[in-house]
Symmetry: D4
């Protein structure tokens, strides 16, 4: 594609339709905006289908506000993850139509009206092993909603009571992608992976007793899954799982 | 589906078309074959589209032969990974039409004639950072071929010479799924993930100097990828990456 | 058992005593209650002898309250572990007859009146290496009491003063199961394991100086115990140790 | 007991029935035999029901022979684990009636004639996730047989094909203790622990891809099991699991 | 010694000077006091020369007070380490003559009047690499003072300015034991170990940047010291280093 | 040099120009100042070109003030890193001409007026992967300024949008040293290292999701960089990177 | 530079001196040669001053030969590291003028005749803590020689005998860059870093007792060096250290 | 001491008894011998009481021979540890009076005739938990013998049979220093440390099942010992423990 643009530009220069200086400018223009503290990648929406997502943790509230304003002005939408209470309050005041989730710790402008809605063409099923895994699951669901993808929930169906999962086999079979969120032993993705043919994206969480070591235990479990083709995201990274689902669904 | 079968069976019992004992037998019959040393999951081909794949490492050659024979007799095909030299020799003798790859350490019956062929409907691109990552890449390609999926290779394009990768942007853009195999710093999937919209499946390898710690370094790199939606397989697990690609492509 | 129920049901259907639709409903009914945030496994009391235990950490107080109410309404008892101060206060107000332990951080409805009482048919002895290990020991004792099992305590008998332990050999010999709770070097279970024939369940605690690494040191010690047949629970997991003791005692 | 013996002895001394020197000798005699390289604990058979088990790895063949001879002369039986080929050959020649298992790498004198036999009063069920976990399972079974305990096998029923396990629920329900041996993700004990009430002893194995890190992955999985009361042994330690089962069964 | 006491006692019983019951009581009496929460090892002062030291962290202030009172009543002295502010305030009020160090976080009754004094027969030199290592050094010095051992300080002489250490070679040569406290790279004990013949006890501290991993880095450095015969204590464990010095000096 | 001074001194002694006692004093005088809590290395300015830098973390404000006063009195400048808010306030009041950076957490007396200025003879380029890496970058820039070295910034150019970096190739090419600061996957130094010939100093940061493990992930990435000759500093150690740059530039 | 080439090319196209198609070809031509197994980066010699270095480990001997031939044909020189015996023998036969070092495990064509020679304008000093660190030091020296840089050696001067190092202060002072190679405690770079102003590049080695953990111990030591501005390479990576030295010297 | 030598030398120069040049030479002469591959620290015998000990692992046999010859020529004795079979054979041939231990893997010239003899003034007791720990214990005993220190053995008295240890309390009480060698759980030093007042030097060994992680488990156990004042050496480092014992005994 870039090749075609260069080729066309060169022909225009050869024909005199475009001057050498103008062509140079066109080739040099960088779809990047430099704020004082960040380099916004405006090209990303074109390249990957969604503008750059803002990671709130460790950023000043004003930095987040600047970034949201910059992105919203170009794309009319944004998503911020890992927000603080202060960031959420400030963004809610500045962007009254933004959707704020305190469980998921996200703020988004645009996307699906109902984050768990059934209106998307191909469904994602987000499964959790326990109740404590919900914040990570909600981060995934809000991210999917920002991307225009509907999601269903199947909560608290860990392998210690395997019939809870097996009784929902129909829901599993109907999903286009399954995101499995689990802490502690992280065993659930292996069972799910053996039941469905579609992509299974495993997300370890930091929920658990001491030898979980902040999520290391379920992370290793999932990487060693005996169900072939299960892939793994970073600990507590519901956002990444949603983005992987979107890649798989062509969203 | 299972529910429908039970429902139908019960109606047959109610109508007398099927006796209670026969129905019980039908409900009890398990699509599993018990060998002396293994429990073959013949149901898997129905459930997941491909019969159980045999992991050769740590198994006696006779065990592997038994398993291949059992699976081939039902499904007419098989795939064995992580074979020893002895296993490959024995299987080649027993199954003359099997395809043997000493680089990938695989033996397979059935699948694509040409493992790197271009005859599959949606293409997988397997990218490696270095030459030493080839065995893992080949394991992925042979697995894909067993599943009937064609794959292209892009070898030795690590980020230390970034133009090697960027000059192949067209190939990256054309792929339906990209598998990225890298040892050492494991940085390549992050760059690839920023260039394409499709699923990027990262496979760390155990290639590297001391502080690679057997592949731990690239594994952590990939889990922490700054390109959203990159997912990760186990170290050196080309097989798993291929299975994940197949899940994504609906193969 | 499930097999027998299916068999009986099928005969009833065959004889017309039960309709096909009623049989299907019976086979389909799932002993699971879906709250907004959790899937309560009511079947567990039947399957494992005690209803699902609630893990308080990371749950909202209202979620814990919902779960307690749901379980108490079916089973007339419950146990919550790892409660916060707020959870304990709320539960104490809502369930006046519940027993609250601020040391163990547990709340329970039902079970033994006296958590360390001697009224149970087979005794569990809970041994600690130090005073700082008490909260974990108390979690075990409260859990045992919830299950109707009495327990004796033997506190602060670490191996640095081995005669403290040896002078209590009679108590050790009299126990049906010994739970050994130890931080720091975690050496105590190895000594106890060499003195008694009954199950020895080792629980590492996170008590200790820097190189304890949050309990990793005693965990590894216990896994490598030179006393054969000592088994190990997660760090600080007094609850799990009590459940293992109950499994062993057939409680 | 030791207290009663001291009391009786003192009374005999007081009555003149035993001289002070003889009493001193009796109190001093240590049920320990010092070989050049080892201190045999002959008291263990009295204290724990089975003589000291010999760990073959890292010992010279002559050392192992000495130890076997010393123990056999007192107790008429012995068990050696982790033997080398040379040790097995030498012991087989020296003790023709010993039972040698090259899979389990054990040699034993005495115990059950048929290591997997059904003649023991309470049965142990040894379950494995995969075929490659067999050597560890066999070590457990041979150890149980040495202790006079029969065991049944349930092999290759990992969670990736969960119906293989569920179809054997009756066998699980019938067991007095379940030993679950699993490598890779180590997820199987969590599922088994949710199905049965009896002790579940989990044994991680070193079978797996790179990020198993020699069995660390399934070890952590099992320690973090969401099924309450599952306890854990060291990596590949089938012997320890059998000893724990014996403690639980009162064997 | 115990043997001699038994022999003497038996002779007394034989001669009628001591009754059998009295002898039994003497043999049975255990020098242990059981508080509600602790088992005080009063025998330790006899066995090891100093009463049991109290570890304040994780204990309630009242528990610490009980223990101090129990020990002071028998031995007229005590040492508490890792105290909280509240513990120090309470102990200072209850024991007006106790010495309190807020830097070392210790409280002690008895011992040297001047913790860094030069009045002890053999001197301990406590060396630190940096100023931030002082709290650990002071814990060592206060513990030594409690044991009646004087200590000298040599502070902030890390290897980045090696002449600071070398200019104090005389002090190093004069010491009977050298305790070296260092965080960050933990390199100082290796240099000191090469300069002196006496025991060098290395204490890693948790002072440092990220890759110190809470003191793991200097801990490993010290364990791998190229100066032969350097031994190592736990991270931040100034108390343990002092006790080791006392063992070496026969204190 | 020291050799020459000794030689000259000895000749002066031989000629009688210097007395033996005076020579001894000269040889013995140590360029070290002992405060109560620190040993100031005044010789360092002579030996390494800049006086000892003060690490604020874990030091009392008065200790820091003492050290600053001691160093300023000799050298007329100082640098304090990792300051607390209280330290910065106190130092600003005491040294009104000091430059305080709350982002970098540094206070310095002397050095460049403009920390990011272009007035230094050879330029350092400080590159960050993300906005959250800024505090570490600023610590590097302030340290460089203290040393009289100008620096340019290139912020938020992580590899997920590789064109952001490539569009700034000219800046990269113009730098004398490049410091690359990155958290998460830490992939940026490998790409930069492949683009420039000059020293590339990589600094991992603790910014990231769970499996970053406090910066371990990017640290390992950078140590395993496939770009030859990239070297690595401690996690979050912007100060160390600046000092390494100064060594390379001969500053 | 690339910008200037594009600008010039565009002007030539505008003037008709170059056709659009030729310009496209020029812009598209990739300085990369694709072998069957590798993508040779011929552009690297232009970009970084030395052609791509070949890492022998894990490559087939024929692959190495192909790569050497490809690079030698363009650049007249090559360097292979981590060679096997077979690779060295084959390369020596094929390239009779190549220099082979069995200690360093390198083969190189071109560069300095005498790898430790004094003929380079700015000298590198390679220091080792022990004799066992020599292979890593020699890899660095051979790499430097390939780049045309002379190096001096200072071997076996670990900190346990600090006077061995201090007696060579003149040599340290004279070096332009110091590479310090150390296993075990890895303490040497901290001392060297305090003595010199020039770049100090630390290389940990895998030499040592158990708790070295394959070089992890000295790696962490060096990353935590209390000498500011010391930077670190991967374990055993003498090659990387030499490349870093070359970057610093502008070679 | 060095100070006094300088003072005396200067007075001699002042009086004309020594010329300035001769004094300079005396001050400059370094007690170090540079071989091609090593820098022998001949000063160590003077400084630390025993010449430099040679670590055989990773050295060529000729290098070891050179070092032995160099040291023997000055000091008439030497000690080599971690020798290979070839090194032992070569040294035995070259130094017929050397003592060779294949268990300890040591070769020594000089020292006690009988390594376990009772002829030394203060005794060291070397205790092992198991038979497999013997090689490490023997390395300690041979090192002690080289230093002229006698040692007694107490072998295979691990805590699983605690009476084996307690029955030897007299031997423990009689020792001047106790070295405790243990693998697996590493619990023995904690028990020993509680029984004796003298220095207890703990040596972890790499003996054990998988979760020993090469000796990491007992290493951590020992560092966290609840017996105050136990210090720790590197894994399998019997040599270091002996050197520490010698430091403590003033040998």
């Amino acid at each position: 594609m870039i090749r075609e643009r260069v080729q066309a530009l060169l022909r225009d220069v050869a024909s005199g339709a475009v001057s050498a200086d103008a062509a140079l400018a066109a080739l040099s223009s960088d779809p990047v905006e430099e704020l004082a503290h960040s380099t916004v990648d405006h090209h990303r929406a074109l390249r990957q289908g969604y503008p750059e997502v803002i990671y709130g943790a460790g950023k000043a509230t004003e930095q987040v506000l600047d970034l949201c304003a910059s992105i919203a002005s170009r794309d009319g939408r944004f998503l911020v993850t890992r927000t603080t209470d202060a960031q959420r309050a400030t963004l809610a005041a500045r962007f009254p139509s933004a959707r704020v989730s305190s469980v998921a710790r996200t703020v988004r402008l645009g996307g699906l009206a109902d984050s768990g809605g059934a209106d998307a063409p191909r469904r994602v099923l987000v499964v959790t092993a326990g109740t404590s895994d919900l914040p990570v699951a909600e981060e995934a669901i809000e991210t999917l909603a920002a991307l225009g993808l509907g999601a269903a929930r199947l909560v608290d169906v860990g392998v210690a009571g395997i019939h809870r999962l097996l009784s929902r086999t129909d829901d599993l079979m109907a999903a286009g992608v399954v995101i499995v969120v689990a802490g502690m032993d992280g065993a659930l993705p292996s069972v799910v992976g053996g039941l469905v043919r579609v992509p299974v994206i495993a997300v370890p969480t930091s929920v658990g007793y001491g030898a979980s070591f902040g999520g290391l235990a379920p992370l290793l479990t999932m990487l060693n899954s005996c169900s072939a083709g299960v892939t793994v995201c970073n600990i507590d990274n519901g956002f990444g799982a949603a983005m992987a689902a979107a890649r798989s669904l062509g969203a």
